[in-house]
Symmetry: C2
Subunit: 94 residues, 2 copies
DNA sequence: GTAAATAAGTTTAGAATATAAACCAAATTA
DNA sequence: TAATTTGGTTTATATTCTAAACTTATTTAC
């Protein structure tokens, strides 16, 4: 009847991050922060969780002399996101 | 960009309860329990929350001699559910 | 040159939430 | 009449979220 919802994705901020990364292919920490309106601390924690699950890849590079954290969705993450949407439908469709 | 998700609805079990009530008009506690697979304790707590928010109505009646808890969605609840779906779309559509 | 402000995050402690175990009362069955 | 089942509620713990506090490095202002 109701399919279980991946708890990692069933979180407002993590879902927003994944949603962003699906459409942008690659995004920098400050950009994600701005788009989601999250605090840096919260975003840092949630990015860690997505990364630990293998849903996103985090690359720490430099942009000139300043550090730059780049995030990218992985195939695993994309699959999980699609399955999450599919599961959600079991709650939304009559 | 991303619309906020009503925290009361952004919960697997509460969302399942609301989803059920939308399609069934009225449902008994044991039926909801069976359909959602929730434990009675968890279900009781979540029903209380939905009820406290005015999203559902809970009527305690009797079925013969046994107590019978009936749940029904309210217009407020229906509106909240629709708005939740609308907000969700901002995360799912590219 | 150095003091203050900004950038880019991370750590972590407290608040909020979820969940199941323990409990209760009444009715049924053995 | 003792044990079991039904129909829940309470509550204690575990989990999760979130923002405040902190770190390190870089500009900018004096």
């Amino acid at each position: 009847m109701f399919k279980p919802l991946d708890p990692l994705l069933h979180s407002e901020l993590r879902l927003a991050v994944m949603s962003l990364l699906i459409s942008t292919e690659e995004a920098e920490f400050p950009y994600i922060k701005e788009q989601t309106g999250a605090t840096a601390g919260n975003l840092s924690v949630q990015i860690d969780k997505l990364s630990a699950a293998g849903y996103i890849e985090v690359e720490k590079t430099f942009k000139g002399k300043r550090p730059c954290t780049l995030c990218r969705i992985t195939p695993t993450g994309l699959k999980a996101f699609e399955e999450y949407i599919d599961a959600l439908k079991s709650y939304l469709e009559k």
